[in-house]
């Protein structure tokens, strides 16, 4: 039986990769992800994990090695953060195009500059359109569970896509949490050995990643788009099976006291638990507020989100972005939530705020301020105030 163990979240994630019995790990150390790959390097060196740990000189090469290994039929794991992911970008896009189901643990960290080793979501949002399945964890248990599930989702023959598990740098990576860690034999049959659909085989040679001339490229992209959309049902299946086996239920969109709420705060990652604390404080004051977590980022859970937000008691959504879309519609989460609701008849108003950039803590009063902004919009009937595109940063020194 799973034992609840006090363990650093990074170590738990590395243990998840070990329990998935990965064949190849290639990664380059970068704060705040470093403990994950350090632990995996140790496991391989000590003979506790029978895997090939490929040391490289950069993240660009790390992802290249991962794609190559996956193309050869290996189960592959990597981990990075911020600048590391940005440097990988070229090959990140290839991993999904080549349908190599690499699993990446992404310890979310702000992009430079100024240089910041601390947490926000600018790194993942930069990779939004790279075609990876992208899921957010809001605590250590979720990061561990979702890393295990990532192999099942990505390697499913109906999917064959890389999966990125997001968890906030430092806030989660460096924290010791009580986590239910599975015994190895308890999780082993949840993750069967990897069977590739296509792989590089000298006896049956194929070419992966060839030139796609103008007569081919469009059809290749359509095929990829259909694959990630159809992965949605597999993601739900895996969430269901995990819940059935182990009792912990994951959903694409999670809610907290949203059933009768008028104003909800929508966010991703670890902030959602703090937002829930703010909901409790405001509920005690008689305010009808709730929280919505957008756990699944790609494929975007359009229907789930509409079901939660449209035709319900919710009149106002406040979207918290941990990243600025410079010169654009405040933040990427806001713009996508608004776009998802555009054609709905009975929909709430949606306002966006930005907070928690580059590791700045968001305090209870600031979550309450976000709900106040929502209340103000609802009261005045002005969706996002006088200047709807003006970035409203909560916690900024004016």
């Amino acid at each position: 039986m799973a034992k609840r163990t006090g363990i650093e979240v990074s170590i738990a994630i590395a243990e998840a990769a070990r329990q998935a019995d990965v064949d190849v790990v290639s990664a380059y150390p970068i704060t705040p992800q470093t403990h994950i790959v350090e632990h995996l390097a140790q496991l391989v060196a000590d003979g506790d994990l029978d895997a090939n740990y490929i040391t490289v000189e950069s993240e660009h090469t790390a992802m290249s090695a991962c794609v190559g290994a996956s193309a050869a039929g290996a189960r592959v794991f990597t981990s990075t953060s911020s600048q590391g992911l940005a440097l990988m970008n070229e090959i990140v896009y290839l991993a999904s195009s080549l349908r190599t189901p690499v699993v990446m643990a992404l310890a979310n960290r702000a992009l430079s500059g100024p240089i910041s080793i601390w947490n926000d979501h600018s790194d993942v949002m930069n990779e939004r359109d790279t075609g990876w399945i992208c899921i957010f964890a809001n605590n250590g248990q979720e990061a561990y569970d979702l890393t295990l599930m990532a192999f099942r989702i990505g390697e499913d023959k109906r999917v064959m896509l890389p999966v990125m598990i997001n968890f906030d740098g430092f806030i989660l990576t460096h924290v010791i949490e009580p986590i239910y860690m599975f015994d190895d034999d308890e999780i082993a049959d949840f993750i069967p050995p990897y069977e590739p659909v296509i792989y590089l085989d000298t006896d049956n040679p194929i070419t992966m990643g060839p030139v796609g001339v103008p007569d081919i490229y469009t059809e290749a992209k359509k095929q990829q788009e259909v694959a990630i959309r159809e992965s949605r049902s597999v993601i739900d299946e895996v969430f269901d099976e995990f819940a059935g086996r182990y009792g912990r239920r994951y959903r694409a969109v999670e809610t907290y006291k949203a059933e009768d709420a008028e104003i909800v705060l929508l966010a991703q990652g670890s902030v959602i638990e703090a937002a829930e604390a703010a909901v409790d404080v405001l509920r005690d004051q008689g305010k009808k507020v709730g929280a919505v977590e957008l756990r699944l980022w790609r494929p975007f859970p359009f229907d789930d989100l509409r079901e939660v937000l449209c035709g319900t008691s919710i009149k106002q959504v406040v979207v918290l972005d941990r990243c600025i879309s410079f010169g654009g519609p405040i933040g990427p989460v806001l713009s996508e939530v608004r776009s998802a609701l555009y054609l709905e008849k009975d929909k709430p108003m949606v306002v966006g705020v930005v907070a928690g950039l580059g590791g700045r803590d968001i305090h209870l009063e600031e979550y309450i301020e976000m709900f106040r902004i929502g209340e103000e919009c609802l009261r005045t009937g002005k969706d996002a105030g006088e200047e709807p595109e003006l970035v409203k940063i909560v916690g900024l020194r004016e």
Binding site: I206, T207, G212, I216, E219
Partner: protein
């Protein structure tokens, strides 16, 4: 098996891979060229330098040991003419009748 030249997205092989080795022979690139190599066999020493250097593997050896470029694949780059130690290859304008 020759792949369809314009497959639908459903017909396109998984992940746009090429499942058949060597199928690039179906893709004829000869009409890219404006200049074609012409070999003067009276000067040719049958060394095969053109065959080695040709980036398209367009040169083929005939039964007498001479090398001739397959114009269905030759892109007309002229590397053979430049590298030929006997200077027996000249690039001439390809005229389509």
């Amino acid at each position: 098996m020759k792949l369809k030249e314009k497959p639908t997205w459903r017909e396109l092989p998984f992940a746009c891979c090429i499942p058949e080795p060597g199928n690039s022979v179906y893709y004829k690139t000869g009409d890219w060229k404006t200049l074609k190599p012409v070999v003067d066999k009276t000067k040719c020493i049958k060394c095969g330098t053109c065959w080695i250097f040709c980036p398209e593997y367009a040169y083929e050896e005939d039964e007498y040991g001479y090398f001739e470029s397959n114009l269905e694949y030759c892109k007309g780059c002229g590397i053979c003419a430049r590298e030929c130690p006997a200077q027996c290859i000249t690039m001439e304008e390809e005229v389509v009748e």
